[in-house]
């Protein structure tokens, strides 16, 4: 029974990882940038929700109504003001710029909030669970996180597949100069992509901050898990990212069931095995993003 339990918990955890990784996957799919500030931005969103809870007493999920649009605006500004410029500077420039941004943000958070650990308080929702059979219960919060992950990935997928803006984004990802000849402003479109990515990062950050404690340095682990989910699934493939998140989550949960110390390690091992045997990931994208 404990194995079934581990796998079920792992799948749910995977949904959360997919939620965390969705924005990373979108940004990579559309403009081939690996955003190394992705993790810190999630932590920033968690702190945003924390401040709203602390000062106004807002429940973390209500705080999302503020944090999500603010992070989307930050994403648009970040892309237009910083990343679009970096894109003109060669392969390495966006990597260095986002790395620098991560360092600056982490230190700013440290200044503002100290290194103390915090946690977003969900109230009774945090501990509620649904019994499935004897010995197997599913927590309401992990379930909600996983469902949110699936919904976010599906929504981004539908946006790219069905809307005019999503179509223009795929065209720009194929051939930016040809897209300009169609009247598409690549700089604006990239701004929209990063805005969407950071909106999802905001949701992910709040879920992460409610799941366990966080501090200004938590961005590193967050980035690594998101990156592993994206790479396991296949770079540039959204549904691959969901699959990658689930594989990572199950590996961690099963590893932890063997020995609690092996959880994270098992995830890394699976990541390396996938990288060595299927370097393009489990679902390499036929279609971009």
């Amino acid at each position: 029974m404990s194995w079934v339990n581990a796998v079920v918990q792992g799948i749910l955890l995977g949904g959360l990882y997919a939620l965390v990784a969705a924005g990373l996957s979108l940004v990579f799919g559309v403009m081939r940038i690996v955003n190394l500030a992705h993790g810190v931005l999630a932590v920033l969103a968690a702190f945003g929700a924390y401040v709203l809870g602390d000062t106004l007493g807002l429940h973390p999920f209500l705080a999302l109504l503020v944090v999500v649009p603010v992070m989307a605006a930050v994403g648009y500004g970040l892309q237009r003001g910083l990343l679009n410029r970096a894109l003109g500077g060669g392969e390495l420039a966006p990597l260095l710029v986002t790395f620098g941004l991560a360092v600056v943000l982490q230190n700013a958070l440290l200044e503002a909030f100290s290194a103390d650990s915090r946690r977003l308080d969900l109230g009774s929702l945090g501990t509620a669970s649904i019994p499935v059979t004897d010995g197997l219960a599913v927590g309401v919060f992990p379930l909600l996180a996983a469902v949110t992950g699936v919904v976010v990935i599906a929504a981004i997928g539908q946006f790219l597949a069905r809307t005019a803006t999503g179509r223009a984004m795929r065209a720009t990802s194929d051939d930016r100069d040809a897209a300009a000849l169609m009247g598409i402003d690549g700089r604006h479109l990239y701004g929209v992509a990063t805005a969407i990515a950071l909106a999802t990062v905001a949701i992910a950050g709040v879920f992460l901050g409610a799941r366990s404690t966080f501090d200004p340095a938590a961005g590193g682990t967050t980035l690594i898990f998101a990156f592993e989910a994206v790479v396991i699934g296949g770079l540039g493939s959204l549904w691959g990212t969901l699959l990658g998140g689930v594989v990572l989550g199950v590996a961690q949960a099963v590893g932890a069931a063997v020995d609690p110390a092996y959880g994270v390690l098992a995830g890394h091992v699976v990541f390396l095995v996938v990288l060595a045997t299927r370097p393009r990931g489990l679902l390499p994208s036929a279609v971009t993003a």
């Binding site: 005019a164 179509r167 223009a168 795929r170 065209a171 990802s173 194929d174 051939d175 100069d177 040809a178 897209a179 300009a180 000849l181 169609m182 009247g183 598409i184 402003d185 690549g186 036929a286 279609v287 971009t288």
Partner: protein, 235 residues
């Protein structure tokens, strides 16, 4: 007829290599101008300058008398300039129909929409759900022209429609041109295929190494002088 497009003494360079030398080109509203020339003559550079992909170092490009300097490529589409670029440049991860829809991104009103493009190129209609990556060269070129038409351009730029295509396919594609100009669209076509160019154009202008070496009405041009100009030998 008033000039719709005026390219006025432009110098264009790629880094240190200059491609156009004080080149001037004028196209009247409703006219079809063919620009011909050998490899590297600067034909594509001319079209890219008009579309705003490259910026002239000197000189000006005007549409309807208004300078386009400082207007980026993506805004020129809204002003009525659409291009089918050299090598077609379809979006391979999109279907044929999605490629056409992307062409309509600027939402310019006009006669061209999916139905009209499908009526013009029935073969494209049959392939509408296919990935643009799985088309023959002729089909790709038809989609590229249709995609440019979706912008309802006043000025249509066609770069080497014939590139790599069998003569019969080229003839089929150019057969669509009268239906395009019938809408009042002005066309600037670039070709290496001189006969095809002369057949469709009102006027022809021959470039050699970034300069005009011959121009005149397509039906009265001296073909011996033209081929001499084309290859840059004295007639």
């Amino acid at each position: 007829m008033s000039a719709l497009l005026e390219v006025d003494a432009v110098d264009v360079s790629y880094g240190d290599a200059q491609a156009l030398f004080g080149l001037s080109v004028t196209v009247a509203e409703g006219e079809t101008l063919a620009v011909i020339g050998a490899n590297g003559a600067g034909k594509s550079t001319l079209l890219k300058t008009v579309a705003g992909v490259v910026r002239p170092r000197r000189g000006d490009v005007r549409l309807d008398g208004a300078s386009l300097s400082g207007v980026p490529a993506h805004r020129r589409v809204g002003r009525g300039i659409a291009m089918s670029p050299e090598g077609r440049r379809l979006f391979p991860s999109l279907t044929v129909e999605e490629n056409l829809l992307v062409g309509a991104h600027s939402r310019r009103p006009g006669p061209w929409a999916l139905d009209a493009v499908y009526a013009l190129f029935p073969l494209v209609a049959e392939r509408r759900a296919r990935s643009a990556a799985n088309l023959s060269g002729g089909e790709q070129q038809a989609v590229a022209i249709g995609r440019a038409l979706m912008a309802n351009p006043r000025l249509l730029l066609l770069d080497e429609v014939s590139l790599g295509l069998a003569p019969v396919v080229v003839a089929q594609l150019y057969a669509a041109l009268p239906q395009i100009t019938a809408q009042g669209t002005t066309v600037l076509v670039v070709e290496q295929d001189v006969h095809q160019a002369l057949a469709v154009a009102d006027r022809v202008q021959c470039l050699l190494e970034g300069r005009t070496v011959l121009e005149g009405p397509a039906d009265r041009v001296d073909t011996a002088a033209l081929s001499a100009a084309y290859f840059g030998v004295d007639a």
